[in-house]
């Protein structure tokens, strides 16, 4: 497993699960918040990747 994207997805999954369970008590809220966090991590990672793509100029 050396794929940067794959490792980022796994890392995001772990962190999202822990944060969602830590900050929400209702299981449905945990799933919703965890999914939003996970999507945010992946989206931000891909966005940052594209923004940094032209560097170094």
């Amino acid at each position: 497993m050396t794929s940067h994207l794959g490792l980022m997805v796994i890392f995001s999954l772990f962190v999202s699960v822990v944060f969602a369970v830590l900050t929400r008590d209702d299981p449905r809220e945990q799933i919703k918040f965890g999914a939003r966090l996970f999507g945010g991590f992946i989206g931000a990672g891909i966005l940052m990747g594209w923004l940094l793509y032209p560097l170094p100029l």
Partner: protein
């Protein structure tokens, strides 16, 4: 969610003992406080994350005061509790600095320790009746 009366009766337990337990075994503090599902999730997620970091050739950093960043990473590593000591005892976690996944592994291990510290603080709040 506010603490229920049933939860508040548990505040008589010493919060610091719960913190120690929560640190030593991820999720054990929540389990003790009656939040068993959370405790099991923390135990599984944090242990897996730590093990994944070791599998990625991450390193368990030594306490070197002369190198402050290494010492800080060592503190973060120890944050995960029992899995750290098991790995140390088993001689796992030497790290392979030339492995392509070395830094990824370190990130997983460090993040697992830091997340467990947050879990410990959450257990402390619950034990104090703040949540």
């Amino acid at each position: 969610m506010r603490a229920t009366p049933a939860d508040r009766t548990q505040t008589t337990s010493t919060p610091y003992l719960i913190c120690a337990l929560a640190w030593f075994l991820p999720g054990a503090g929540h389990f003790w406080l009656g939040r068993r599902q959370k405790g099991i999730v923390f135990l599984v997620a944090l242990s897996l994350m730590f093990a994944f970091g070791l599998w990625l050739q991450g390193r368990l950093f030594p306490f070197e005061i002369t190198q402050p960043l290494v010492a800080l990473m060592a503190v973060a590593d120890v944050g995960v509790g029992l899995p750290y000591f098991v790995a140390r005892t088993a001689g796992i976690g030497a790290g392979d600095v030339v492995a392509i996944t070395y830094e990824y592994g370190n990130t997983f291990i460090i993040a697992a320790g830091l997340l467990n510290m947050l879990v410990v603080l959450d257990a402390f709040d619950i034990a104090k009746g703040r949540k």
